[in-house]
């Protein structure tokens, strides 16, 4: 009844919006870095050797890079003021994409403005509800969020364990035999990283290629740490193993 409803509304007490955090939580007081983060870094006033930033090629302090950035600042200003679709595409974006494609020896390339968002948007673009994705257990957080957003069926395999992966693929194939019509429309993907952020080792790409052709799955390769690091010229893990990059899906 109406009166009961009013009473219920009066009585309801929600939880506080955020639970209280203790004052000496370690992440609460950040280390303040003053000055540029190069191989030496000034943390909280003390000068330390920097073993923490992802500055693999040391290009943070390179004069050529800084001069090019200054020139572009003078020409374009700081922000782009718009998404790519609505006058936010600059000629430098297009040039960068062409150069990336040529360097990585692929047909085309696309760039995103935020590293985290790249793989988290790419996975849901291809893998929808009902598709099957085989993921390494030690995949980084961005991949996990991308998979959560795509709502596909996720099958985890033990870190760098090709035997376990093959087992899972065989199980999947057996299920496909039972329902061939559905199997013809579900897409299958494997998501791996070139250099794992959580574990620090490399994925065994040649075996993955063999599995790919045997079981007909497509490979997503995330090279945010191995780009510029592995391989003779820095082209990443495909050059490191000597594999033609067109075998990789993305």
């Amino acid at each position: 009844s109406l009166q009961e409803k009013e009473e219920l509304i009066e009585e309801w007490q929600p939880e506080p919006l955020v639970p209280p955090v203790s004052k000496d939580h370690p992440a609460l007081n950040y280390n303040i870095v003053s000055g540029p983060p190069t191989h030496k870094i000034t943390v909280n006033g003390k000068e330390c050797i920097n073993f923490a930033s992802f500055n693999f090629l040391g290009l943070l302090d390179n004069e050529k890079v800084k001069n090019a950035a200054q020139a572009s600042l003078k020409k374009y200003g700081v922000g782009t003021c718009g998404p790519r679709g609505f006058y936010g595409t600059f000629d430098v974006h297009l040039e960068l994409e062409e150069r990336l494609a040529k360097f990585m020896r692929t047909e085309e390339a696309i760039i995103y403005s935020y590293g985290f968002a790249t793989i988290a948007s790419a996975i849901p673009a291809y893998s929808k509800r009902g598709d099957i994705v085989f993921v390494d257990e030690a995949a980084c957080f961005a991949i996990q969020k991308g998979l959560q957003a795509s709502r596909s069926n996720i099958k985890l395999f033990k870190h760098n364990d090709m035997v376990h992966l093959e087992q899972l693929l065989k199980e999947q194939e057996a299920e496909d035999q039972k329902n061939p019509r559905k199997a013809r429309v579900t897409r299958r993907f494997i998501v791996v990283e070139g250099l794992y952020m959580n574990a620090g080792d490399i994925c065994p790409l040649p075996e993955l290629i063999k599995l790919k052709y045997k079981y007909k799955v497509r490979i997503f390769l995330e090279e945010s740490l191995s780009f510029g690091v592995l391989g003779e010229h820095g082209r990443g893990i495909t050059e490191h193993f000597g594999i033609n990059v067109s075998v990789i899906f993305l």
Binding site: K5, V78, C81, F86, Y87, F90, D91, Y114, F116
Partner: protein, 518 residues
């Protein structure tokens, strides 16, 4: 349908919002247009399948021919047949700073938009009505740019580390204190990307067992954040307070769907200005409802920060309300400040919790130093702390531009959606053919506009969206209006049945009334 609401003294100024209904004839013709296009689409697909016509979209590599196909035929139907025809209105490359006038690179297509070739020429001085440059801070000279250049040479271009590790520069601390002061809240926290701010912080605030009430037309980042959080989502009609109240009452009285246990928290997600409609949220009523039903409010001010309010502090100041009433104030630096990134402001406990538990603080890199400096300089300029009145002048110029532009467009007879004071002006086109025609005709006349169709808008309500800027002078606006009127006559876009009697050209003040004749 005009709403002029002065609801029990909650609103201190008239709230004029109008969404004129689609004329019946236009709706019918639009559906007919889409029907014809669909028929042709099926015909072309048939020809392509039987190899009579060459297939030009991406095809599978030879050895992968027996893999499961990536795109189901029907999913891509819209893309192949409708979007490809008018694709040249989007992704137009530019090669200068996106200010009031911009240089667009010319491109032609010899095979009906499947591929583009660049002719090498540049169309100079195109009037830019598409970039989100509300206060005109997209500049390549001036105080902002010099400060950013200095910081670039001093700190380098990037940070290469997450916020919790070595990524917290002293510049970030300075920026956060400044943002908190600007908004009038206790503290604030900044992130590298506006979209990611929403999608990574809503999951940190709510989880399973909580309820999210979100507006019909919320942005994709809010929808993604709500879905990733795992809470139950209920949608209320756009800006409709009765619908919201009904949902709130039902939620508290009935509890969770199956177990009938009470909800842990209720979070209302709204935006300051909705970018496709141009409407402003009815904030006084939302806050009254929120207080009555003890729920929490998350306000996304991506477009409204810097653009509304007498000193540019956003939609809270526009309505004259207390910023402490809004629990979580979120916004982006991309639009009015000419930089990149997002922020969240609120009480100190909230921000402390986000510093420890937000996904972005732990896993994603922080803002890069020159961008931080650009935000600091532009924010100080808006607040007036750098000693000049440039900030205030920009905000006032934007308000005048908005009123003038909207009034003139209404006088000409176009259907314009949205609130009188919002700098986002959607002009209705409706028919699919006019989308492409409008974009191309305006570019021929040296004006760059943004046209949007399905799936960003409902299928028959496609529109052209103008984004006004403080950098547009009256002459630029007059030129643009003249060209828009010409193109409107050419394409027969003047659908409106409410004709305004043109006012004398005197400055707008609160006591003038407009007469409408139907």
């Amino acid at each position: 349908i005009h709403h002029i609401v002065q609801n029990g003294g909650l609103y201190k100024r008239p709230f004029n919002e109008a969404f004129e209904e689609t004329p019946m004839l236009v709706a019918v013709l639009t559906y007919v247009g889409y029907g014809v296009l669909t028929l042709f689409g099926y015909l072309r697909d048939f020809l392509r399948q039987w190899k009579i016509e060459k297939c030009q979209n991406a095809t599978e590599r030879e050895e992968q021919k027996d893999f499961v196909p990536l795109y189901q035929d029907f999913e891509n139907f819209y893309n192949r047949n409708l979007y490809m025809r008018i694709r040249d209105s989007w992704n137009r490359p530019i090669c200068s700073v996106p200010g009031a006038k911009v240089d667009v690179i010319e491109r032609v297509s010899h095979d009906y938009n499947w591929t583009f070739t660049y002719t090498g020429r540049v169309i100079k001085d195109v009037i830019n009505m598409g970039s989100y440059n509300y206060l005109g801070f997209a500049q390549n000279n001036g105080a902002c740019q010099e400060a950013a250049a200095e910081v670039l040479s001093q700190y380098g271009a990037g940070v290469c580390s997450t916020r919790q590790e070595m990524g917290n520069l002293d510049k970030h601390e300075e920026l956060e204190k400044l943002v908190a002061r600007f908004l009038g809240v206790e503290s604030a926290m900044t992130y590298g990307m506006g979209f990611a701010t929403n999608s990574m912080n809503i999951p940190a605030l709510v989880g399973k067992g909580c309820l999210i009430l979100s507006d019909e037309l919320n942005h994709a980042s809010l929808v993604l954040g709500a879905r990733l959080s795992g809470a139950t989502i209920r949608i209320f009609k756009h800006n409709n307070m009765q619908s919201l109240e009904k949902l709130l009452k039902d939620a508290i009285v009935h509890g969770q769907p199956r177990t009938r246990r009470p909800w842990k928290k209720i979070l209302i997600l709204v935006e300051g200005i909705y970018s496709m409609e141009g409407s402003i949220v009815r904030l006084p009523e939302v806050i009254a409802l929120k207080k009555k039903y003890k729920s929490y409010l998350y306000l996304d001010e991506a477009h409204s920060i810097g653009a509304l309010g007498p000193t540019g502090r956003g939609v809270v100041e526009y309505f004259g309300l207390n910023p402490e009433d809004v629990d979580v104030m979120m916004g982006t630096f991309t639009k009015s400040f000419g930089a990149a990134g997002g922020y969240i402001g609120g009480k100190k406990e909230l921000i402390d919790y986000l510093r420890t538990h937000s996904h972005s603080a732990v896993y994603a890199t922080s803002l890069s130093p020159p961008v931080v400096q650009q935000i600091i300089t532009s924010m100080k300029c808006i607040m007036g702390e750098d000693g000049s009145t440039l900030g205030k002048a920009c905000v006032q110029q934007l308000a005048e531009n908005t009123r003038y532009f909207r009034r003139r467009l209404k006088e000409m007879g176009f259907i314009i959606y949205g609130n009188e004071d919002s700098p986002v002006v959607p002009l209705m086109l409706y028919m699919p053919a006019k989308i492409g025609a409008f974009g191309r005709e305006m570019l021929k006349r040296n004006i760059g506009v943004v046209v949007v169709g399905f799936p960003a808008t409902p299928i028959i309500e496609s529109r052209a969206r103008f984004c006004l800027s403080a950098a547009h002078t009256k002459e630029i606006l007059d030129t643009a209006l003249k060209e828009i009127s010409e193109v409107g006559d050419l394409l027969q876009l003047k659908y409106s049945r409410h004709r305004l009697v043109p006012l004398l050209d005197r400055p707008f003040d609160e006591t003038t009334y407009e007469e409408t004749e139907d």
